[in-house]
């Protein structure tokens, strides 16, 4: 009972700080959006603006008012869901983001699931076999994984699996023929799930095949980092007194490693998972470009090329909010794993 109260209080406190962090984030995006550029209004409506347009937008954004007032105007718009209008597509930025998010989300989730699964398993195994060839292999692979640029790795995989071996599709989310033979009914926008819901197995296979290379490319860095972290914490944990106690009391080695030690190791690993998500989000930009994946990343890069300023600021805010929420989620999950956290 007491426990739960503490936990609830902690979560509440954590939620509150997140709200403050989000508020602070908007201050920074506000600065980048309105204060850093020499003429924010011109950036906001794009290069074809006529003087009267700039004047109109200056009024609309309140750019002629003092900074605090401008910020309030900005916040009001953000909260109203008015994140500006994309210069190149003329559609509301939030709508643009929403329409592309499922594709990115699908890629991100798949990559992170791969990364977390392989990272933890490989990390644990590596720690268990410390100093053996398997451990050495894992350590070498993981340092390669954190050093290789995603955009380059993607190209190499394309060359290998498409050009040389020709066993995986080159790019895209689905084969274009599929739309006429076995169209995917879009329910969630996440094709893997949609294909399963509607039992469209042909499409599922195609979606999976298209997913492999981008997901692997994106997973390389987080997987390596998680593996390194898991290995390090597993070694660290196993040198702890309580693990020695468990051994001294004759518990089974498998129980000690996979239940006791792993639970202790998972908490720092979770933090790293939260961190790598930030990487994966920006990493997906490169991966989406290389694999022509129609998600947020393509939108971002196109917006960068077109200097679609409202879109870029929208994406920045969106990414930052997503990242804060993920970290919040990680912290909350950690309270279930580590009862001590709610006390700190």
């Amino acid at each position: 009972m007491l426990m739960n109260l503490q936990k609830a209080e902690y979560i509440l406190r954590r939620l509150l700080t997140s709200v403050f962090v989000l508020l602070g984030l908007t201050v920074i995006t506000f600065f980048i959006a309105r204060v850093v550029p020499s003429n924010a209004a011109a950036l906001y409506i794009g290069p074809k603006a006529r003087p009267e347009d700039i004047e109109r937008v200056t009024k609309l954004l309140g750019l002629d008012k003092p900074l605090p007032v401008q910020y309030l105007v900005y916040m009001r718009d953000v909260l109203k869901g008015d994140w500006g209008t994309s210069i190149s597509s003329k559609r509301p930025v939030l709508q643009e983001i929403a329409s592309r998010f499922p594709a990115t989300f699908e890629l991100l989730c798949t990559a992170m699931i791969i990364a977390v699964a392989t990272g933890i398993v490989v990390g644990v195994i590596s720690a268990q076999w410390q100093g053996k060839w398997l451990d050495i292999l894992v350590r070498a692979a993981s340092i390669v994984g954190v050093s290789v640029p995603a955009f380059w790795l993607g190209l190499l995989l394309q060359i290998l699996f498409f050009r040389n071996l020709n066993i995986l599709p080159l790019s895209g989310r689905v084969d274009s023929d599929l739309r006429f033979t076995h169209p995917i009914m879009v329910t969630t926008g996440i094709y893997l799930i949609d294909a399963i819901i509607h039992q469209n197995w042909v499409a599922l296979k195609d979606v999976c095949l298209h997913m492999i290379l981008p997901a692997l490319t994106l997973a390389a860095y987080p997987a390596s980092l998680i593996a390194r972290m898991t290995r390090a914490t597993m070694l660290e944990v196993q040198s702890q007194d309580y693990i020695r106690t468990a051994r001294a009391y004759g518990l089974k080695e498998s129980f000690i490693v996979y239940i006791l030690a792993l639970k202790n190791a998972i908490s720092p690993t979770l933090t790293v998972i939260g961190l790598t998500l930030a990487y994966a989000l920006t990493g997906s930009f490169f991966v989406e470009i290389v694999f022509n994946w129609p998600g947020l990343g393509m939108f971002t890069v196109r917006s960068l090329l077109n200097l679609d300023y409202p879109a870029i600021m929208g994406i920045t805010l969106f990414g930052a909010i997503g990242y804060v929420l993920i970290n919040l989620l990680v912290d909350i999950v950690q309270t279930w794993i580590d009862p001590r956290i709610s006390l700190s």
């Binding site: 309580y242 001294a248 009391y249 004759g250 518990l251 639970k263 009862p339």
Partner: protein, 326 residues
């Protein structure tokens, strides 16, 4: 005479480090009799903890037993399989570590950890194991055992945790309990309570106990017999009373003159100038010679062997050989 429950013979242990090999134990030999409390005394780094861990074969990866054997109830612990060893750990021999706050896994409840051990060794059902754990917790004088059973380690004080640790250590009808500095990390006021409790339970359950400590004061109150280790070697061994009344080694004497007030946390034996050598194996002659107030030219050349003063008292000092130390 009864057979000893534990017999350690000529135990040598080495550590391999990046700075070379360190000889942690060099020919340690002693017996522990059933039902007695046996003290292992020495400064930090003298090898007493290593001795305790070696009995359970829990030495760190870098350590290696190069010589000697450890017999528990007639079985050579160094020769049996992992599986057999596992049933002895926690089943026959249990151990209490120095710092109760780190020796319990912080992410699991006290109950979970006790329950698991009891089920492992006594093959109890979950329910029965829980009852047993509660009984043992109550036996250590803890109040509100149901709540403690469901608590996480961080929710208990150090003293309560150590009581829980003791409950765990005695929960599986063990015949030998190794207590490695069980009170050092506790508050002064708690220390004597815990020692008292251990002594009571030890007598009640009739287990043998090895009490590892740097604190001669603790040993004096508790132990039937004791061994004094210095730099990985036995310097004096025998009945506590005999040793306390008539210490036969300058080191023991130094230790005794440095007995802190009961319950104090002092670690350093300031009465003896100098430090324990890092790798005593490299020294020629008596390992204590560099710090010894009675050092003789002979001490620097040859190593003294064990000299028996009586059936129950021996020392490794040339002075003891001559019998004219004190």
């Amino acid at each position: 005479m009864r057979d000893p429950i534990l017999r350690i013979e000529d135990l040598h242990i080495e550590f391999r480090t990046s700075r070379g090999v360190i000889h942690a134990l060099q020919g340690v030999t002693f017996d522990v009799m059933p039902g007695e409390i046996f003290g292992v005394v020495g400064e930090t780094g003298c090898g007493k903890t290593i001795t305790g861990l070696s009995v359970l074969r829990l030495l760190p990866r870098s350590a290696r037993i190069t010589q000697g054997n450890i017999r528990f109830e007639g079985v050579d612990l160094l020769k049996i399989s992992q599986r057999e060893m596992r049933s002895i750990r926690g089943g026959k021999i249990s151990i209490i570590f120095q710092d109760p706050s780190t020796s319990m896994n912080p992410l699991f409840t006290i109950g979970f950890q006790m329950n698991k051990v009891i089920r492992e060794h006594l093959k109890f059902s979950r329910e029965k194991a829980r009852e047993r754990a509660l009984t043992m917790l109550a036996a250590t004088g803890l109040p509100d055992v149901e709540r403690i059973y469901d608590s996480y380690p961080h929710q208990l004080s150090g003293g309560m945790l150590q009581r829980a640790m003791i409950a765990l250590a005695l929960s599986c009808e063990h015949s030998l309990l190794i207590a490695d500095e069980p009170t050092t990390a506790l508050d002064v006021t708690i220390q004597s309570q815990i020692l008292q409790l251990m002594r009571e339970l030890q007598q009640k359950l009739g287990v043998a106990m090895i009490l590892i400590t740097h604190n001669l004061g603790v040993v004096a109150n508790m132990c039937d017999r004791l061994v004094v280790l210095y730099a990985g070697r036995v310097v004096e061994i025998g009945e506590s009373r005999s040793i306390f009344e008539n210490p036969q080694h300058p080191y023991t004497r130094g230790l005794m003159s440095a007995i802190p007030a009961p319950g104090s946390r002092g670690n350093r034996l300031s009465a003896i100038p100098g430090n324990v050598p890092i790798d005593p194996g490299a020294l020629k002659g008596c390992v204590f010679a560099p710090r010894c107030a009675f050092v003789m030219p002979r001490c620097l050349k040859e190593s003294p062997v064990m000299f028996h003063l009586s059936k129950d008292h021996a020392s490794t000092c040339f002075l003891a050989e001559r019998g004219d130390l004190f």
